[in-house]
Symmetry: C2
Amino acid sequence: MARVFNFSAGPGTLPEAVLKRAAEELLDYQGSGMSVMEMSHRSSWYERIQQKAESDLREIMNIPSNYKVLFLQGGAHLQFSMVPLNLIKNGKADYLVTGVWGKKAYQEGKKYVNARVVASSEDSKFSYVPKIDKAQLQEDADYFHITTNNTVYGTRLRDKDIVCLDNVPLVADMSSNILSEVYDVSKFGLIYAGSQKNMGPAGVTVVIIREDLVREIDPTVPTMLQYKIHADNSSLYNTPPCYSIYMCGLVFEWIKEQGGVAAIQKINEEKAQLLYDCIDASSLFKGTVEKYDRSLMNVNFVTGSEELDKKFVREAEARGLVNLKGYRTVGGMRASIYNAMPIEGVKALVEFMQDFERLNG
Amino acid sequence: MARVFNFSAGPGTLPEAVLKRAAEELLDYQGSGMSVMEMSHRSSWYERIQQKAESDLREIMNIPSNYKVLFLQGGAHLQFSMVPLNLIKNGKADYLVTGVWGKKAYQEGKKYVNARVVASSEDSKFSYVPKIDKAQLQEDADYFHITTNNTVYGTRLRDKDIVCLDNVPLVADMSSNILSEVYDVSKFGLIYAGSQKNMGPAGVTVVIIREDLVREIDPTVPTMLQYKIHADNSSLYNTPPCYSIYMCGLVFEWIKEQGGVAAIQKINEEKAQLLYDCIDASSLFKGTVEKYDRSLMNVNFVTGSEELDKKFVREAEARGLVNLKGYRTVGGMRASIYNAMPIEGVKALVEFMQDFERLNG
C-alpha cells in the first residue's frame, strides 16, 4: 500500500497512526465484540468514548470549566444560523469578513439580526486580514464574529491580534485551524469548527460555548438548533455521529502524544516556513496574500500561467502529491498542510516545486 | 476476536462483511492512497462513492425517477422540524401517533403548523397501531405524517395497511425499518430515515422526496434546513458526512448481494417468527403488543418480574447476547433484530430464552 501526500483543503489528511488504530479496532473495539459504529449511544462503552474525547479536547485547548463542549452536526454552515438564533438579544451583531466563509456567516446572520460588516478585505480578493480597533465595534452588539483562518484565500488571524470588546461575546469560526496553533479560549464567547480539517472525518461540529451564553431561547427555533437542548443533554439529546466523534477522540489523543497544541504549532510553523521560503525564493511561484497574514494551514501560490498551474498539479499528482489544485475563484495551487500532514510531505512538495521551476522557469 | 450478537436498538449491528471491507480499505481506498475519511467531497473519488450509494438505494427501494434522494445530517429529530418548515402551505397537517417518535414529530410540528392527531394509541402504551379510515383525514392538510415502525414499543405499519389521501403528501419516518420490508415509495411524498439502524453508522439522514415537494420556501428558514438547497446541490451544498455515506453505500451493496429488500424481508419475517413463536409458546415470557402489529425489527417481551428481567439481561450478556434491556418506559427486554442480525443470533437468543425458562420458569 502506498499512501499519498494529500494536500486536500477538507476533508483532509488524517494521522496514519490514527487510521491504523481505527482499522485494527473496527470490528472489535477493545474486546467489546462490536464496532464503535454499532454501539448504542446510551451504552457505557460509547459514553466513555465521548467523555474521553471531550476531556482530551478540554485538556489540549485548555478550555475553562465554565465552557460547555458540544458535539453537533451540520457543519459550520448550520452554525451560521445557530449563532444568531441563539445569541440574539438586542438584535445587532458585528462581522469581520475576511474570506468566503466569513461572508457566508454574515449573509446568513443577516436573516436573524441586524448584521454589520466591521471591515472586509473582499475588494482586494481577501488577500489580507483587515486591522480594526475597538472604536469600530458596537458596544451593544450581541456578538462579534470572526474567522480565525480563511481556507480559500490562505490567511489567518493570530490570537494576539484579535481585537474585541470585553462585554460583547467573541464568536469564532475555527473550522480550518482549530488545534493548529494556540488560542486563548477564555477570550471567546463561542468557538465552532467542523471536524473535517484538523479533527476527524466530516460529520461532527465542535461547539465550545461559555455557559452564560447557553440560554432558553425562542421556542419556535427548531429544537435541534438550540444549544441549551444539547448542553443539557451532554450532546446526547439525539443520536450523535458516534463514529466520527470516536475518530476525533483518536486525533485528540494523537495531539497529546505530539506534545499538545503548542508543540504542534511549532511543527506547523516550521512546515509553513519551508513552503513560504520556497515561494519567496522562487522566480516562478508567487504567494497570493500579505506575508504577515499568511495561513499556517492553507498555502496558496500561482505561477501566473494557467497552463503551467495545470501542468504543476498534474505532475505533482504523478509524484503522489495530490489535491493541490487551488480553489476555483483563486486559481493556481493550494497546499493544505493540516496537523496531520507530515513534514516529509511538505519537503517532498518543496523538492518538486524546485524541480518544476528548473524545468519550466 | 469474538464478535457478540448485538441486539441494540440503534446504533445497531452492521453486517460483518461490510465491516471487514471497511477495515481493509480504511487506509487506502481502492489504490487512491488515502482513506475515504480524507477525501475531498469535491473529488471524483468521493463523487463516485456518493453516486453509487444513491443509485444502489434507488435500485433496492425502487425509487421512481421523480424523487430526489438526499443525504443530510441531524437525524430524524431535525426532520421533525424540516418537514413542516418545507411542506407548509395551508398550515395544517395530520399526524398518526403510534409511538414515542411519532409523538415527538407531532410536538415539533405543532410549532410550525396546525398539527392534528388523527389517532393515537398512547393511552394503551402504544401497544397497537390505530386503524383509521380516509374520512378521518383532512383533504386540505399539507401532509399526513406516519411512522412505519415504532422502535420503542415494537409495532409496525405494513405497506398494505397504510391509509392516505391521493392529494395529501404522505410523510413517513422510516428510521427503524427502512430496507427491512418492501414499501411502495410511489405512494409517499417524503420518506426520511436516520442511518443508524438499517443503513450504517449514525450521522446520515436519508430523505427521499417527490420533486414537486422540493420548492422555494420562506427564506428566513435556516439555509441548511431547506430541502431545495440540498436537492439543487446533489447533497453537496456543504461537506456531507462522507465516511458515513460511504458506509451506507457498502450496506446497500450488501443488501443487493442478499437479493434485495424483498429477499431481506423474507429473512426478517423468518427471524421475527422464531422469536415470536418462542414468546407465544412460553409461560414465562409475554409479548407487549397486539400480535398483528408486531414489529419485524424490535421485539419486546417481559417476564412480569423486574428481578427476572434483570437476571435475563445479565445472563444473556454473559453468553454474548448483548443490549437486550428494554427501553426505560417499557421495561423488560427488547431484541432489535435489524437486517444485519444473522439468523444464528436469533436462534442463539431463542435457545437462551428456553434455557432460562427451564431454570427460572
